[in-house]
């Protein structure tokens, strides 16, 4: 199956610039990378979100991000931004 890579960039409210890159194969996420000038506490929490998204399909993105960001404080980036951007990469 063909590996597809898509990126979406967005200037989110508060002025931070966020870029989400998703590599997927047959609609399933192989790798996600969320980069930009935002803050996440703990920082590793965001990396955990990236790991947990591996294997997810577009319909599983919301639930996965919501549960994985439970203990993470995001500043300059909303959980909803992550969900929307990852979904957009998969569409």
């Amino acid at each position: 199956m063909l590996m597809v890579e898509r990126s979406v960039s967005r200037k989110v409210k508060g002025g931070k610039l966020v870029k989400v890159t998703v590599r997927s194969e047959g609609g399933r996420i192989a790798e996600v990378r969320i980069t930009g000038d935002f803050f996440a506490h703990p920082e590793e929490g965001l990396e955990q979100v990236e790991r947990e998204l591996r294997g997810a399909t577009v319909s599983e993105v919301r639930k996965t991000v919501e549960s994985a960001t439970g203990g993470v404080t995001l500043v300059g980036l909303k959980r909803e931004d992550i969900i929307e951007m990852v979904e957009e990469c998969l569409e």
């Binding site: 508060g14 870029k19 980069t35 000038d37 803050f39 996440a40 703990p42 920082e43 965001l46």
Partner: protein, 252 residues
């Protein structure tokens, strides 16, 4: 916070600066060191990028290499910053249980930035805090900060622009694109320096003194002129090696 250790201004390379901030934050979080304010500079000049940033998108590595500009990924989130000799950088490390620093992130930025806002006002610049993490004069950014909460500590570091070396701005890709679009004046519209606002040069020492006075007053603490402990100095070199590594710089 009853007492605050203050480590006076000295300039170091990028990796050493980041390593020392981390070593101090770890010692403070472990209760081995008191709350600490460190004032420092960058020699040679450097670009620091935020923890979550992509180095390729932010930094012109060839320009940095050709001009002897260091490049380092910070432990803290936020954006890419060009650090030249015309700035004062600070780091504040406090236990995450210290009631002097609010638990909520936004509140803590405001609390830690407040002494810097007052110090700038004391020097004659009408500064104000601009959420999330900036200080502005006349609507232009003069200072930015970034925070992490790890090791049982809150570590916030930030910079105050005394003067700017516009030739080195080429090191920042995003800035370059904006400069191309709007010219150098575009940058000058969003960013300012103390020299520009006050019409005179302000030294690191003059600003440092004002900052120390304001910390003492606003945090109601005694200041102890200090140095890094031997423990902090021992752990810094191996941390600096990590900050210098290709794996760390290109990890995102």
């Amino acid at each position: 916070m009853d007492r605050l250790r203050v480590i006076s201004f000295s300039a170091h390379d990028a990796a050493s600066n980041m390593a020392l901030d981390e070593a101090i934050a770890k010692a403070v979080g472990a209760g081995a060191s008191p709350p600490t304010l460190r004032l420092y500079g960058w020699d040679p000049p450097a670009v620091s990028i935020g923890y979550f940033q992509e180095v390729e998108g932010e930094v012109d590595m060839d320009f940095c290499e050709a001009n002897g500009i260091g490049v380092v990924r910070r432990l803290t989130g936020g954006g890419a910053v060009l650090h030249t000799r015309g700035e004062l950088t600070y780091s504040l490390a406090v236990s995450d249980r210290d009631p002097a620093v609010p638990q909520d992130v936004q509140g803590s930025y405001m609390k830690i930035c407040a002494p810097f806002v007052s110090a700038l006002r004391e020097l004659g610049a009408p500064a104000c805090f601009r959420p999330i993490n900036d200080i502005e004069v006349g609507g232009r950014k003069v200072s930015g900060s970034a925070q992490t909460r790890r090791f049982g500590a809150v570590l916030q570091h930030g910079t105050i622009l005394l003067d700017i070396d516009e030739r080195l701005l080429c090191a920042l890709r995003a800035k370059m694109e904006k400069l191309r679009e709007r010219g150098i004046t575009g940058h000058a519209q969003r960013v300012t320096t103390l020299r520009r606002e006050l019409g005179r040069r302000v030294s690191h020492g003059e600003l440092s003194r004002a900052v120390k006075r304001q910390f003492k007053e606003q945090f109601g603490c005694k200041l102890d002129a200090g140095r890094p402990t031997s423990g902090e100095l021992c752990s810094a070199p191996s941390l600096a090696e990590r900050y210098r590594s290709v794996e760390w710089l290109f990890r995102r």
